[in-house]
């Protein structure tokens, strides 16, 4: 019996690890992709200026206008929707926001953190990624016109503050043993556990609140 339960626990541990690494890998791929685009743009910047100067020197107004229009379109594909000032936060937020939008979820964000955070990028990535994934999953149970995620990030003194709100189909949710239970059935809810573990390891604070069809998670993480 003991052997069986140990085996079972080990299998769960492995599944948590698999889930996490899979999640991270996806996030990093999205991040890298965005940076590659940005680097390419920077690299070409001088060439573009040079080309524009030549057109201007030749008095080719038509050519100038065409070139600028082309650049504008090109830039739009690189330009980030969200600029918090923190590169990693930007990347993860932007990739998750475009994922949410592709699922017909409206995202309202107000995020400003142009300081270098002390916490590791992996932890930040995991926390924001998990918050978004959970909020997206919950939103999908609602009709498209009711899907809305609110993201707020700011510094509270020297601590990073993150607040996520999504609307839910179910009413007020009850806690079981001081915890909100996952609604995704057995074998899910790893995201919730891992987020709690990261926040606890960093001496942070995490609060979940479910009220009137809205679910809010608030997090404080010390940076000093």
């Amino acid at each position: 019996m003991k052997f069986l339960s140990r085996l079972f626990n080990r299998r769960i541990d492995r599944r948590i690890a698999d889930y996490q690494s899979e999640l991270l890998e996806t996030h990093y791929r999205e991040v890298e992709n965005m940076y590659a685009k940005m680097r390419a743009w920077r690299h070409d910047y001088r060439n573009h200026i040079q080309a524009l100067k030549v057109l201007a020197a030749n008095g080719d107004n038509e050519g100038l206008r065409e070139y600028l229009d082309k650049l504008d379109t090109d830039l739009n594909t690189v330009d980030l929707v969200v600029k918090t000032g923190n590169a990693m936060a930007d990347a993860i937020l932007n990739s998750k926001i475009s994922l949410a939008k592709s699922k017909g979820i409206e995202v309202v964000e107000d995020a400003q953190i142009p300081v270098k955070l002390k916490m590791s990028e992996i932890d930040l990535c995991r926390i924001i990624g998990n918050l978004f994934d959970n909020a997206i999953d919950a939103s999908m149970e609602l009709p498209a016109e009711k899907r809305l995620i609110r993201v707020y990030m700011d510094m509270k003194g020297t601590q990073l503050y993150i607040s996520f709100t999504n609307f839910t189909a179910v009413g007020k949710r009850r806690k079981v043993g001081g915890l909100f239970k996952t609604t995704k059935g057995e074998g899910h809810g790893f995201g919730l556990v891992s987020m709690d573990a990261i926040v606890e390891r960093l001496d942070g604070y995490l609060s979940r609140n479910s009220e009137d069809g809205a679910f809010t998670t608030e997090i404080l993480i010390p940076q000093v």
Binding site: K83, T84, G85, N86, A87, Q112, I113, P114, V115, K116, K118, M155, K156, G157, T158, Q159, Y161, D203, Y205, S207, E218, L220, P222, Q223, V224
Partner: protein
């Protein structure tokens, strides 16, 4: 109320835009502002050696030789009360600016409504900073600026105010709690902490900016963190 404000930005278009926003903020709030504009950190320091005595600084981060964070650090060394707001363009890397205790970071292009919000917050902090604790000691009266206070600690009928120096007076913690008001938080029977000084809260302790760790009772972890979130 008149606010002394300095804008420091190497981009003239940006600084004149911020100046225009600042002036329309002042007229909408019926406040007076005296504005100085500097094109570099060096020119600011050349004119204002000891910090300049400004109420609010609006600083660009990426400037020529010395950046806005370093400028803020130099001013902060002499002036604990000034409200520092960074206004910055996008960058892959922005240096750590925790030690200068900035009020806020704004991204360019700055929305007027967002700048108004931050100026409101700065103005109320400036007014708050003018507040002092007036303490009666045996020999006379001591005035301690409220922003210097780290925490207060009760011992019998006495309270110790831990600020730049420690001052002991005969008074109750409840009286201080009422006098200090917003921005301060009472922990159990023994302490009142300045929320601005809190660096982290663990389940059993609160760590302050001066390195001091205070034990907190069960239940305070939740309420103290809520207070930090609410003080904005």
């Amino acid at each position: 109320m008149t606010y002394r404000v300095a804008i420091c930005d190497d981009d003239e278009m940006d600084s004149s835009y911020v100046k225009a926003c600042l002036c329309s903020w002042a007229s909408s709030r019926k406040a007076n502002v005296v504005v100085d504009v500097f094109p570099s950190a060096e020119s600011f320091l050349f004119k204002n050696d000891g910090g300049g005595g400004y109420d609010i600084l609006l600083l660009d981060i990426e400037m020529g030789l010395m950046d806005g964070v370093e400028l803020a650090r130099r001013v902060r060394a002499n002036d604990k009360a000034v409200q520092i707001v960074f206004i910055t363009g996008y960058s892959d890397y922005i240096s750590e600016g925790y030690d200068v205790e900035a009020l806020h970071y704004l991204m360019k292009p700055v929305k007027e409504s967002k700048l108004f919000e931050v100026l409101d917050k700065a103005a109320s902090k400036v007014q708050g900073n003018a507040r002092v604790l007036t303490l009666e000691l045996g020999g006379g009266i001591v005035r301690v600026p409220i922003y210097e206070v780290q925490y207060l600690e009760v011992y019998g009928n006495y309270v110790t105010i831990h600020a730049n120096q420690d001052i002991v007076v005969k008074k109750t913690l409840a009286e201080f709690e009422k006098e200090l008001g917003e921005g301060f938080y009472r922990i159990g029977r023994s302490y009142i902490v300045n929320l601005k000084m809190v660096r982290r809260v663990t389940k059993s302790q609160v760590l302050l900016a001066n390195g001091k760790a205070l034990s907190i009772p069960r239940g305070a972890y939740e309420t103290l963190n809520r207070a930090i979130i609410m003080q904005g």
